[in-house]
Amino acid sequence: MPSIEPAHPSWLLSVVSIFRKDWQSELRTRYAISALAMFVITTISVILFSLGSEGAPPAALSGMLWVVIFFAAMSGLSRTFVAEEERGTAMTLQLMASPSAVLLGKLLFNLVLVMALNSVTVVLYGALISGFVIRTYSIFLVTIALGSVGLAAASTIIAAIIARANTKGTLYPVLSFPILLPLLLTVINATRLASEGALFEEAYGEFQVLISYIAVVIATSYMLFDYVWKD
């Protein structure tokens, strides 16, 4: 006898299913992934050409890595919400899932996207930009991990906000930059420490800031998302 489990829907299943829907949809249409890949390759090429044979000081190179990552994020992370609005499926999703499930499911999607993006970017950047050298890998890896989570968290709530506005494309970096600035300054500093060969303990301050930033942004997003998502 076919049946549905009544009355106690599983929030976790909801979250995972939203994540899987976005992922499967992305694999079938490949909008974000190809755009992001091309963006990263193009940007690193531009940097390579403009540096030429002169190179740049290591601190500047640490900063530029995150500039590439920031703008790549800006070109790809809004898609998860903007696509729903543009296709008219926002209402469909509202009918199926609670706001918190939508936020978390899409946050997970953006997180996976950012991790993939950053891995590729870091590898390409390290391989192609010869002045960029990492001496303390442990700091660098933790920085990339925490930085990715923070980037995904902030970008997702801002994406939800601009998806409801008109000039989505240009508005996204404008709104995201002030919010992400604390994160960017911290990860750039930590990357610089990693390239200078600092001890792992010296980056504790940066890691603490990153972890608190992530906690604050996720908590605030969770509390405010209803006002953004529901009409």
Partner: protein, 208 residues
């Protein structure tokens, strides 16, 4: 099962324009509500408010299921919606869309519930093709399957016969009959051929 749906003092203002106000009604199982009004009078807006997708400017909707008041967060699980404004994820097939609908609602399905529903809306032979390849009539039928997959006690139909051929119309009339027998049916339309019997009518032309 018993189900009650009450609306009291529903008012919607959009960009400082009052769409409607003072809409109140009370429905229980085996009741049918008909909402009429010319284009732009707010039929779709009222439907969205009842299905909890849109918040009213004033007033409230209350749903009581099996004598227990439902939490507002649960209203979406208790209502099913078919509307011209509703879009499916068209890169997925009908079967996948229904499976997705259940999973995102946090429900696990067992047995043949999805296939049975596809058969009921006469889509079983194209059910594995992406929805984007369907005709408009087939897309409308997918919407019905989507609205029914979680077996909601309240069914909301905005322009129920849109894009449907004779076979589609017969399927929908069957669905409407069954819903009328077991739960609450709410239909918004301008074409009175869509619905023959109803218990209550709200005419949005008159409310201004």
């Amino acid at each position: 099962m018993n189900i009650q749906l009450e609306a009291s003092g529903i008012k919607k203002v959009f960009n400082r324009r009052v769409i409607f106000r003072n809409i109140s009604f009370s429905l229980r199982e085996r009741n049918t509500l008909l909402i009429t009004g010319r284009n732009g009078s707010g039929k779709s807006t009222l439907i969205k408010i009842i299905s909890s997708v849109l918040s009213p400017t004033a007033g409230s909707i209350r749903i009581v299921s099996n004598d227990m008041p439902a939490r507002p967060q649960a209203y979406a699980q208790l209502t099913g919606l078919v509307s011209p404004y509703l879009q499916m994820y068209d890169e997925f097939s009908a079967r996948e869309m229904l499976s997705l609908a259940l999973a995102i609602r946090g429900m696990r399905a067992s047995g043949t519930i999805i296939v049975d529903l596809l058969r009921r809306v006469s889509l079983e032979d194209r059910c594995d093709d992406p929805v984007r390849t369907y005709s408009s009539g087939m897309k409308q039928r997918v919407k019905y399957a989507f609205a029914l997959i979680h077996r909601p006690p309240v069914l909301l139909l905005d322009e129920p016969m849109a894009n449907l051929d004779a076979e589609g119309v017969a399927i929908v009339q069957d669905i409407m009959e069954e819903q009328r027998r077991e739960g609450i049916l709410i239909v918004a339309t301008n074409d009175l051929r869509d619905i023959r019997t109803y218990d209550l009518q709200i005419d949005l032309n008159a409310i201004h």
